[in-house]
Symmetry: C3
Subunit: 138 residues, 3 copies
């Protein structure tokens, strides 16, 4: 059995943004040489997500509008969490989008369907945050 | 360490539908003989889900109505993704229901509570699509 | 390769409640001595969740209000699932919050960011229910 661990550092200049991290995760896979595995990729922060979907700009706008409808940022007083903070909405948005993905690794590749791409979803940005990649296999 | 990989092909005749795939996943487990493991089961398409819940027809109607409320199919112009496509809603519905499940395998069985069943959730059907089963264990 | 399995028993005295189970999961990790792994922690019941977020009371109130908005408990007749049961809303709330988490284990510790804590989310309580911990690693 082999294991591998790497932290990816990400920075979203705006409060919210989606960043395609597929090539970063593929780099990890190439670096470790593991051929058959489960790969975990998770946000290490509780106001951010890692999820899999399409790399299409219109869809990403749809996500932004839809999440604002389900868990609006303002008014900040809407959330009991917002005493010393203003990111109550970000905790809820991340819940919808998910903390983590688990991906199959087969023949040393991400075992993906045709349109699957891994995204980091930032909902309380403007600072550096981390994503963890952990691989268990052989 | 042992690993196993299988693609399941599914076809939902309607745009949306839920298909119980538990017996298909159990077949994979019997085929590979792995006794202690983590089993990943994920949709390979970004407008479909794999999730765990109850096999009860009333609940499945509730899911349909609830998801249509949270991310309505129409009007198609509602979504920026719907330039050349009409499946913007399907990407959002799949986000709510989830891409994947990870299931414990113990003593060569799916290690489930009394009502857990694995479902494929189709939100943009009428064509054949794939689910991946990947098992890492021994 | 090593594997480990444990059931945790939980009891929420109210219909809904969030219980921090991080220390229970850490106990499992200490008990088995596995140092590099993927750890699965999932609700064994389909009206409950396991999820990761902040241990902050205001946020937990926000979750309660938000989930009641997205999938109200009453009127019970709202849900087709509620023929012999009254927990249709609990199935939907658990879908939003998620069935499971997968956590990296590195150097025999939960490999967490600064605020990550594991919670059991009960949406149909007043009775004992189970969470499964399964670890695959070495």
């Amino acid at each position: 059995m082999k294991s591998y661990r790497k932290e990816l550092w990400l920075h979203s200049p705006a409060r919210r943004g989606l960043i395609n991290i597929t090539s970063h995760v593929e780099y990890c896979l190439n670096e470790c040489g593991i051929r058959q595995a489960l790969l975990l990729c998770n946000a290490m922060h509780i106001t951010a997500s890692v999820f899999i979907n399409d790399d299409e700009a219109g869809l990403h706008e749809d996500f932004e509008i839809w999440l604002e409808g389900l868990a609006p940022e303002k008014p900040y007083s809407r959330y009991r969490h917002n005493g010393f903070e203003d990111n109550g909405d970000a905790h809820l948005k991340r819940t919808i989008m998910g903390r983590e993905v688990v991906v199959a690794v087969s023949e040393a590749k991400l075992d993906f369907g045709p349109w699957e791409q891994i995204f980091y979803g930032e909902f309380d940005g403007k600072r550096r945050k981390r994503v963890l990649v952990k691989i268990i296999g052989e």
